[in-house]
Symmetry: C2
Subunit: 281 residues, 2 copies
């Protein structure tokens, strides 16, 4: 596995791969890799002769009160994991390399963001869209892999690709979970022991909602009340949201039908966890 | 020359050309071709084995009071001219093809626009940046050709390419002029006979400014006054702006040094004409 730190070198590698007719699978990450990332890399490896991954903690997608400075980082460990997962090129640019000076153009995500994480993480998805437009231009992937744990991000990226006709296929990959159901996340390391034990209840709550829907419930309010009730009674964190929306448009629905997302966010002492289930009703 | 009307077909042609290792020269236009466009096509032909041009009157870059509906169109004539100029593929999508529904992501140009045409054409460069991001994704050119008559557009596109690391080389091409100096423009057809005769004074005024600078004048105000004075006394149109700025950053300068642009805009009865000179001082 080759580590590439400059945009110019990465672009010249991409250009060469494309000239050789090689399809590129791309897995963008912020590092501190876990099995969720490794599942993306494995999938990319299955579907493409060359896999590029990136590690870049993108300051643009963190709000001023968020954890940009303290976001967990461990390049040595990430390097070993990515290599083992079959990554061919690891793009690892500095902030200065990605954002060298004053920007003249901004990307604004105007839809799919006034809900779920977008409601409190102002500007987060603008930062995500900006860095992805850059990474797609630098790496020029045939396919890009995203975990469905960040389902709103997948919806936003899908819109970004459609709106700008980007020549990349979006490949969403199911959430990888711990044995007790907790969705894998780099931020799980922030949890205290008690919180870690409670954290499994996010997924348990989603499964309660799923069960209701599968048994025929079509009223969003009934499902949301049941999910919220489980969270309130089973964990100490504060509930940031419990929502059910159409997917990927992320619009409010009065009746549960079509493709929907049931999603929750809970704030613990140092970690904010999210989880979701996407269902075809 | 092949005419391509759908994004899907154009993207599959681009993918094939790229797989064959062919470099693509791209000339985006809004049609109603004149010798300015043909100079771009000729340059593209010299530098690339394949030339793609597009004809698309982009509604996003017209303000509500501007001439979107009446913008001159003549596809038959454009087809013949583009073919004669050596264009291989003419991308000619409908508005519905380019903007099929609700957009979820917007591009906003935040710099280089609070001056010259950007001051009055609110949102114009956002529309230009949006359509170019799309066209670059669809056509995937190695090089893209733009006329320097729209020097502010060239500056904005340069920022767009830099900010998003787009894998395309920007190739600005000098303004093509009529014998009397009038810059070629699709909008020249709007001029009355008297106005057409006066229109040559835009360039004459710029040359007066250029002459002063070449003879050592470094005070922007002195140069602007001379240019403005010439316009006021030689034509009936109303002056929209006379400006001298750094180029391509388009920032105000107190002393004429470095690369600068001297630019004018004049509004006639039905046409708004622009012209400029870029100088290394």
């Amino acid at each position: 596995m080759k580590v590439v730190e400059t945009i110019a070198e990465m672009q010249s590698i991409s250009a060469r791969l494309i000239a050789e007719g090689k399809e590129i699978g791309f897995v963008p990450t912020m590092g501190y890799l876990h099995e969720g990332h490794l599942a993306l890399m494995k999938k990319a490896k299955e579907e493409n002769p060359v896999v590029v991954s990136s590690i870049f903690v993108n300051p643009l997608q963190f709000g001023p009160t968020e954890d940009y400075e303290t976001y967990p980082r461990d390049f040595e460990r990430d390097y070993a994991l990515a290599e083992e997962a079959g990554v061919d090129y690891l793009f690892y640019p500095s902030v200065r390399e990605m954002y060298p000076g004053k920007r003249t153009v901004e990307v604004k995500v105007t839809s799919r963001t006034n809900c779920l994480c977008g409601r409190t993480r102002i500007g987060h998805f603008d930062g995500v869209a900006t860095v992805l437009l850059k990474l797609f231009s630098i790496i020029r992937p045939t396919r890009a892999y995203f975990g469905l744990k960040d389902a709103q991000q997948v919806a936003v990226v899908s819109g970004l690709i459609e709106d700008f006709n980007l020549p990349v296929q979006l490949r969403p990959v199911p959430t990888v979970r711990e044995k007790d159901g907790l969705a894998k996340s780099s931020r799980n390391v922030y949890l205290t022991k008690e919180e870690r034990n409670e954290a499994k209840e996010l997924y348990a709550a989603l499964l309660i909602g799923k069960g209701l829907i599968e048994r025929g419930e079509r009223n969003p309010e009934t499902v949301l009340a049941a999910v919220r009730n489980h969270l309130v009674t089973s964990l100490s964190g504060s509930i940031e949201y419990v929502e059910v929306l159409s997917y990927p448009d992320l619009e409010a629905i009065r009746k549960l039908e079509g493709q929907i997302i049931l999603a929750v966010a809970v704030r613990f002492s140092k970690a904010r966890l999210i989880d979701n289930i996407i269902l075809q009703v």
